[in-house]
């Protein structure tokens, strides 16, 4: 048991990265020179693929254009160091600065695109930059620039491939380690939610548009460093290694290796490079030299590989490795909590809010108010406009007219992440958890705004104290909701009812003043509903305000202090449950009296 745990720890990502560091420190000393050559290219490709793991695999933004950034790094240094005699190290800084500016500009324009528009846009600017390299005479045109100096550190010249190998792999290991740290942090949770869960992430204070750009720039900078190393390893640059074909190949590496995991980049770069090398040696012996079947066989192998392991190779390897059971979450000092406003004061006012989609009016001049510390149910038949109302309150939609005021400030039309910062937490009608992330991390994402750690602190592991407090907070929220035993489970493995409760725990982790619950009882069993009702009552006792949309009448009648009934986008009635139950207009709407 104990040795199993030890072995498991040895197979953790940081341990594997440490092992790689040691192996690559020794490799140049003992391996044949050609191994070093291959290791150098694998290292260069890993750095770029790692950026793609973050950008494409984790954040869901497919890019075919990384090779262009590699080219920016390579050409900047090549030109500065040959034409102007600038030190390559200063040229690196210049290359990074240029890449930063270009990536920021491109990201600003293209990352607003969604669906397939983004990948095509990356192809478009990737091709544009490639042809630009070929047409600029001072960059050597299509023929290229020769005579690029080797790197040197102090008086040590890194002309020898072995020495370059150490430098390249130093960068690779640093990139792997920092990337692993970033993904295991406050920002990492937010990035993982970008893929298909943007609306949810924004509801917990993540500025999705900004975070996408940060991720994009980060990936571009990694590519730029790879290009800089390439230029001084090769000591010759021309446009072909920075074209669209190479851009596709980087994406290949990430996907084949496993685009969702840090080590996938390394596995992908290694497999693709070695496979091509092996095929070049092996195929002529098998098939004769009359044709070139390398690309054919290579393509076939990739097809079969992805048919067998569509998440890529690393997740498949990872399943075979022993894993240590994660330890219980250690307790830590609570995060600073919000001061709940005085009971019975007005918390939320909706004034004549209206939402029209073209000619269809989904919410029609709706007016109501919530007082602090009450539970209010928003009910009505299907299509009455409840979910649209929720979207207006949480910022997912902006009202066509009217106003929404929260604690005295207008929040109508504000971005969701700004509304979240004011203390509104919510759940979703269709559960929106990050499926591959642990329950604990999903809930910790709720506490996004209660932490401060940025990329740099996370990358260098300087965020651990804050992170411990966030995790403890998340564990407490889960315990309060009765899900303590599932802390380390993957969210996708929970039953749907449990996933709904996780959503509530996540909202609680945000320490909200107002909780918006969209059909929290749907799919829950009887005793689960009772537990949920008890939880909501105890929250009310602590001063929290709850607005819930619910179809389960027994549940909402027994729980809510007041009910608001909507029909056809308008408020039909408002009052205590007993009064609503006997309201003729409500009965008409529910029991299907034909409108006269």
């Amino acid at each position: 048991m104990r040795s199993g745990a030890g072995l498991g720890r040895l197979c953790s990502t940081p341990a594997i990265i440490a092992f790689i560091a040691i192996a690559m420190a020794l490799l140049p000393l003992i391996a044949p020179p050609f191994w070093v050559t291959l290791a150098n290219y694998i290292g260069l490709y890993t750095i770029v693929a790692l950026g793609l793991v973050l950008l494409t695999g984790v954040a869901g933004q497919t890019s075919f254009g990384q090779a262009a950034f590699v080219g920016l790094g390579a050409y900047t240094s090549a030109w500065l160091s040959t034409a102007h005699g600038v030190s390559p190290w200063i040229a690196l800084a210049a290359g990074l600065a240029l890449t930063f500016v270009v990536a920021l500009a491109l990201g600003f324009i293209t990352l607003r695109m969604r669906g397939h528009f983004l990948p095509l846009a990356t192809i478009a600017w990737g091709l544009s930059i490639f042809f630009l390299f070929g047409n600029l005479e001072f960059l050597g045109g299509h023929t290229g620039m020769a005579g690029i100096p080797a790197l040197s550190i102090g008086t040590i010249e890194l002309k020898d491939e072995r020495r370059m190998c150490w430098l390249i792999w130093l960068v690779v290991v640093a990139a792997l380690w920092t990337m692993h740290n970033v993904l295991d942090s406050r920002q990492g949770r937010a990035i993982r939610a970008l893929k298909g869960r943007l609306e949810m992430a924004e509801a917990f204070g993540v500025d999705g548009a900004r975070l996408k750009i940060v991720v994009f720039v980060y990936a571009a900078l990694l590519a730029c460093i790879s290009g800089w190393l390439y230029a001084h390893l090769q000591r010759f640059v021309n446009p072909t290694p920075f074209g669209i074909n190479q851009g596709i190949e980087y994406l290949f590496m990430a996907v084949v290796g496993g685009a969702g995991s840090v080590l996938g980049a390394l596995v992908g770069a290694t497999i693709i490079t070695l496979l091509k090398q092996y095929l070049q040696d092996a195929l002529p012996a098998l098939l004769g030299t009359s044709g070139n079947f390398e690309i054919v066989v290579f393509g076939l192998i990739v097809i079969v590989l992805l048919q067998r392991t569509r998440d890529g190779l690393w997740p498949w390897i990872d399943r075979l490795l022993p894993h240590a059971k994660p330890p219980p979450v250690p307790d830590a000092a609570p995060l600073a909590a919000r001061v709940q406003p005085a009971a019975a004061s007005t918390l939320l006012e909706v004034r004549a809010a209206r939402k029209a989609f073209g000619g269809l009016v989904a919410v029609n001049d709706l007016t109501f108010a919530l007082a602090c510390g009450e539970i209010v149910g928003l009910i009505g038949p299907n299509g009455a406009g409840k979910t649209t109302t929720f979207a207006l309150l949480s910022g997912a939609l902006a009202p066509t007219s009217g106003d929404v005021r929260f604690r005295g400030h207008s929040i109508a039309g504000a971005a969701p992440y700004r509304i979240a910062a004011r203390g509104i937490g919510r759940t979703f009608q269709h559960v929106k958890l990050v499926p591959r992330m642990s329950v604990l991390d999903n809930v910790a994402l709720g506490a996004h705004l209660r932490g401060r750690a940025g990329f740099l602190r996370a990358a260098l592991r300087l965020d651990r104290r804050e992170e411990a407090r966030v995790r403890a907070e998340a564990a407490r929220a889960l315990a309060r909701c009765g899900l303590a035993e599932f802390v380390h489970a993957e969210a996708q493995n929970l039953a749907l009812g449990q996933q709904r409760i996780v959503e509530i725990a996540r909202a609680l982790a945000a320490d909200p003043v107002l909780l918006l619950l969209d059909e929290p009882a749907a799919g829950l069993r009887f005793h689960e509903k009772e537990a949920l009702a008890a939880l909501l009552r105890s929250l009310r006792a602590g001063g929290m305000t709850v607005l819930l949309v619910e179809h389960d009448m027994a549940f909402v009648m027994g729980l809510a202090d007041r009910l608001i009934v909507m029909d056809f986008g308008e408020k039909l009635a408002e009052g205590v449950p007993a009064a609503i139950q006997s309201d003729p207009a409500v009965l008409e709407a529910y029991l299907g009296g034909a409108p006269t």
Binding site: I109, G115, A121, A124, L127, A259, N292, E294, I295, G299
Partner: protein, 345 residues
């Protein structure tokens, strides 16, 4: 630039744009049914044209061997799959169907290779052979992973593009070919000389666009086919097997792509690796149409063809830079006005 040059450039741009539009249609159709972005559409185009060129020169095209090999593989895969499901009897029938029809085609093509039949017969055979590659690719490559993520399907499609490019180099060599035109006639409108071949390109493109828009937009069967990409189970309930829908869309797309090749084969030289950049431009058109709308995809493709023609006149060195930089704002605009669903993993 005077008016006559502008007219010539417009004619050139529209002819090329029409080809991109046809490819865009194939891409939209395959994506709408299977969520696969058909990257190898360009290779199907070149294989179609080069197959015809081989017939024209009296050779047996390498496509024959490719189709025969793929047919055997597909037959085996189908037999194994059905046998595993316990459909012993139908295993044989399935295998015979998947291997038999393409093998018969290949045999016929091998027979007519050196015989120099009339152009129409050669065109029909080139279309049939290349068209057979569509469903065979679906069966061998995509059917087993039909429910994978769009990204994985895309990467696999790129791998298919590699395989087909490599094979095309082996079968057809590195040098290019032209095919005989359907008609070498031309006539003058004012200063503008219009070739019948390029009119043919335009007419067939317009016809194909209209036909596809009608089929998928107006007929129940077409609508149901479209639905398979959104909901495989739902389509099955409507009586459409998603596997059959996939094979059908791949077959239609492959014939369409090969037809593009036959149409432009006489106008331009095609090489074993011409396909990628052509399909990329078709892809631009398809994306401008949101991978859903046939008329918009066609309009986008014409737009690409026109910018290309005019930028190759104004600044030929920067042609690609201009084309691909100009489409970025268009993409941005299309992205902002298109309604997106967040895609689940």
């Amino acid at each position: 630039m005077d008016l006559s040059i502008a007219a010539l450039l417009a004619q050139d741009g529209i002819t090329n744009g029409a080809i991109y539009a046809l490819l865009a249609l194939a891409l939209v159709m395959v994506f709408a049914v299977t969520r696969v972005i058909l990257v190898p559409s360009g290779e199907l185009l070149t294989i179609g044209a080069l197959t015809l060129a081989a017939f024209d020169q009296g050779h047996v095209p390498g496509t024959v061997r490719l189709v025969a090999g793929a047919a055997v593989l597909a037959g085996v895969i189908e037999a194994v799959r059905r046998a595993r499901r316990g459909e012993g009897r139908r295993a044989l029938a399935g295998a015979a169907l998947w291997a038999g029809i393409p093998l018969a085609l290949a045999a016929l093509a091998a027979w007519m290779g050196p015989r120099k039949l009339p152009l129409a017969a050669e065109v029909a055979m080139a279309l049939a052979l290349t068209g057979a590659l569509g469903p065979l690719t679906w069966k061998i490559v995509f059917e087993p992973i039909a429910d994978a993520s769009v990204l994985v399907l895309l990467i696999v499609a790129v791998a298919v593009h590699f395989v087909l490019t490599g094979l095309a180099l082996y079968f057809f060599g590195a040098e290019g070919s032209r095919t005989p035109p359907f008609s070498s006639a031309s006539f003058d409108i004012g200063a503008l000389r219009v070739s019948v071949q390029s009119l043919l390109v335009l007419a067939t493109s317009a016809l194909a666009i209209a036909a596809l828009a009608l089929f998928f937009g107006r007929t129940l069967y077409g609508k149901a086919l479209h639905a398979t990409s959104v909901n495989r189970l739902g389509a099955r309930l409507c009586g459409i097997s998603p596997d059959f829908a996939g094979a059908l869309s791949f077959a239609l797309a492959a014939v369409l792509c090969a037809f593009c090749g036959v149409l432009i084969g006489p106008i331009t030289t095609l090489y074993y690796d011409s396909g990628f950049i052509i399909s990329l431009k078709g892809f631009v058109g398809a994306i401008i149409g949101g991978l859903a709308s046939y008329p918009l995809a066609a309009a986008g493709s014409l737009f690409v063809g026109l910018i290309e023609a005019f930028s190759s006149f104004w600044a030929s060195a920067y042609k690609e830079v201009i084309v691909f930089t100009l489409i970025i704002p268009v993409l941005l605009w299309r992205s902002l006005v298109t309604h997106h669903h967040e895609e689940d993993e």
